[in-house]
Amino acid sequence: MRQSKTFICMLLIISGLFINDMVYADTDQSQTDAQNDWAFDDEFDDNSNNPITPAVWDPLEKLNRYTFIFNDKLYFWCIKPVAQNYKRFTPAPVRIGIFNFFNNINMPQRAVNCMLQLRPKDTASEIVSFVVDSTVGILGLTTPSKKYLHLDYHEEDLGQTLGSYGVGNGFYIVLPFLGSTTLRDFTGSFGDNYLDPVNYIEDPYVMIGVSTVRTVNTISFRVGEYEKIKDMAFEPYSAVKDGFIQYRNKQIDK
């Protein structure tokens, strides 16, 4: 019963996204142009009567900016020191092993989304990788699938699947702790959560512990990236927003 309710909720949100797209059809046009690298970014050449179309609708900008500042402080005061200390005391091979392990068990999300995007070959590749890495690769700690079979992981999620169906971003959201997302991707993440094995751990304390290790371990590889973005930016909020949207558009385009 609860599941069907969630399903209906998701359906409503998704249909809402489609309506959004119809209303903001012209905004969406600029997005498809941006996705097409062959368009060569010619806004400058023929901009006589084009208004500057924003990359994404941002009706929550005021709130988003506050959340952005919150996340910024959270990063510098809490997440970064933790990740840095973890990095200092954990040798790189261990961190890479842990990263590979979690990446490996995340196969259902990738395989299902490849399937939903009607990419049977990539789905099969994900399953083969999983079988090989879980056995030969010792519980997924190493990636023989990449080394010997030359199979790549396909970082797919439900947000991208919806995007490939033509669902637009909806609008931009900055979530506390989690950062940039859009209505579409946020909606998708609920579906992906059903495919995340970590969420099926019964003991809540163990689950939180495992999630924390996964998060800190992942971030330990990325310490310094946010600082660079901020360093390069004149307007960090807009820089991150635009960067996120461009990156997602590219991922969907692949």
Partner: protein, 199 residues
């Protein structure tokens, strides 16, 4: 028979010539990138501050030749460009060029034996898109260059993992221009440049 041969020859020549046209941006780019990588390796060997400064200058000069900063500045401003006075245009272009050169140099300083794979090139009129891949020990980062030919090929936009530099700065500058104005933007650029050890 002879006619056939001539047609064949013509076709081959035609194909060769289109090939020659289709691939002439990538070698230019490759030459510059190779030169920079070579210099970064040299720089690691250079120990005296004078030698380092020398290398820095050389790399900066290559960058100046490789990038079309005028084109970049214009595209970054987008529609607003036409509304600037010629003095503002000049100031903005100069500052933006210096800013980008510093950013570029800062990124290069992190160079640790990455290699560049040249994947693909597509050309349309006087513009070209060259797709490359930066291969690090850990992963591969797609990096696309957009070039424009005036007297020679020069880069006017770089996309890293699908994020276009020009587009990203345009979004930021538009926001600043709407809220504050050109003079404030130029002031901000002056301030931002202060944080670099200047080139």
């Amino acid at each position: 028979m002879k006619k056939n041969m001539t047609t064949l020859l013509m076709c081959t020549l035609l194909l060769m010539s289109t090939n020659a046209i289709a691939n002439d941006a990538m070698p230019v780019l490759k030459k510059s990138i190779d030169a920079v990588i070579h210099m970064m390796k040299d720089k690691q060997k250079a120990t005296t501050p004078e030698a380092q400064a020398e290398q820095r200058k050389k790399i900066f000069n290559i960058g100046m030749e490789l990038f079309d900063f005028d084109e970049m500045a214009q595209r970054t401003m987008g529609k607003e460009w036409k509304q600037l006075s010629s003095d503002q245009k000049k100031k903005f272009t100069h500052l933006f060029a210096r800013f980008l050169a510093n950013i570029y140099y800062q990124r290069l300083e992190e160079y640790t034996n990455e290699t560049v794979k040249y994947l693909d090139e597509r050309q349309y009129k006087n513009k070209s898109l060259v797709k490359t891949m930066i291969v690090t020990q850990k992963n591969e980062i797609p990096m696309d260059y957009k070039l424009i030919k005036s007297d020679r090929w020069r880069v006017y936009d770089i996309s890293i993992e699908g994020v276009s530099l020009v587009r990203n700065y345009r979004t930021q500058f538009n926001k600043i221009l709407i809220k504050q104005g050109v003079d404030d933007l130029i002031g901000m650029m002056h301030k931002k440049l202060g944080q670099f050890s200047d080139l």
